[in-house]
């Protein structure tokens, strides 16, 4: 259970900083930094640089992503930006344009 939820219909313009899980179902513009999991749900729009522990994307994300653990782009997601994480997965049906930087 995420303790911070940006629900559908909510727009945050600015900077979000948190130590807990974040679920975005609405819109975030600016910057999003979390220490735990970040979930960008289907239908959500994020135009921000995102930092987190692990990131799951099912919606639209424009911005650079840095995750300490992993980034999973699910089917139907749309990601534009550079992704830096220990592990990155791109599911079949995900749209992605950008650099991938894994610890090789």
């Amino acid at each position: 259970m995420a303790s911070t939820v940006i629900g559908a219909g909510i727009t945050v313009e600015g900077e979000i900083t948190t130590d807990e899980d974040v679920v975005v179902a609405g819109t975030v513009r600016g910057k999003l930094s979390a220490k735990e999991g970040v979930t960008i749900e289907h239908g959500a729009t994020v135009e921000a640089d995102v930092a987190g522990g692990s990131l799951v994307v099912a919606g639209a994300l424009t911005g650079n992503v840095t995750a300490s653990e992993r980034v999973d782009m699910q089917s139907g997601s749309r990601v534009i930006g550079n992704v830096k994480a220990a592990r990155v997965t791109i599911a079949d049906g995900a749209q992605f344009k950008g650099n991938v930087d894994m610890d090789v």
Binding site: A2, G7, G9, V12, E15, I16
Partner: protein, 197 residues
């Protein structure tokens, strides 16, 4: 349901604007304006550093900014608000701390409220005079005026304060009518001065 319920968690800090058409719950820190079409709850641990707009605002945390509720603003125990509060319904529960202007926006209200509060202020002021009067004679001039105002007051209370507003103005030379807060301040000031004398 998670899609509709928006929560800014306890360790979350937002610097910027939060807007939308749905409900929002703030348990963390928002340093920026909140403007939503739904209800806003600012929890015990929630802090907002700017104005909040919504349908129904429930505050148990801290707000430094204006609260604007299209329906109601409920300031509950633990609320700390520095800023103006505007809504058709404003509730300030015991334990809530507010510093700012409160406006419930009903156009007809100010006049009757002023007369009621002056009437209420009189009995409160009268006992305060009593010890001062014993010490210093000058207040006599004020004392009858207070009595005069005091006399018509009780029947008005029994009959209902509404019609009472114009009645005291001929007997008392226009001191009470001006706005609530200044009138109270004046009265306090006068008392203080008399005590000094």
């Amino acid at each position: 349901m998670a899609a509709n319920a928006s929560i800014i968690g306890r360790t979350t800090r937002i610097r910027g604007r939060v807007s939308g058409a749905v409900d929002l719950e703030v348990q963390g820190f928002v340093d920026g304006e909140i403007a939503v079409g739904g209800d806003v709850t600012i929890d015990t641990h929630g802090m907002v550093g700017a104005g909040v707009q919504g349908k129904r605002l429930v505050v148990r945390g801290a707000v430094k900014g204006d609260l604007l509720g299209s329906e109601a603003v409920l300031l509950e125990d633990g609320a700390r608000v520095v800023g103006d509060v505007r809504a058709p319904r404003v509730v300030i529960a015991p334990g809530a701390l507010v510093r700012g202007f409160v406006d419930t926006g009903d156009a007809g209200m100010p006049a009757p409220r002023a007369s009621r509060s002056t009437a209420a202020a009189r009995p409160a002021a009268a006992p305060a005079h009593a010890p001062a009067r014993a010490a210093a004679p000058p207040p006599k001039a004020e004392a009858p005026a207070a009595k005069a105002a005091h006399k018509p007051a009780p029947p008005a209370h029994l009959a209902g304060g509404g019609n009472h507003a114009p009645a005291p103005s001929p007997s008392v030379p226009r001191r009470p009518p001006p706005p609530v807060v200044p009138a109270l301040k004046k009265a306090k000031g006068q008392i203080a001065k008399k005590k000094e004398r």
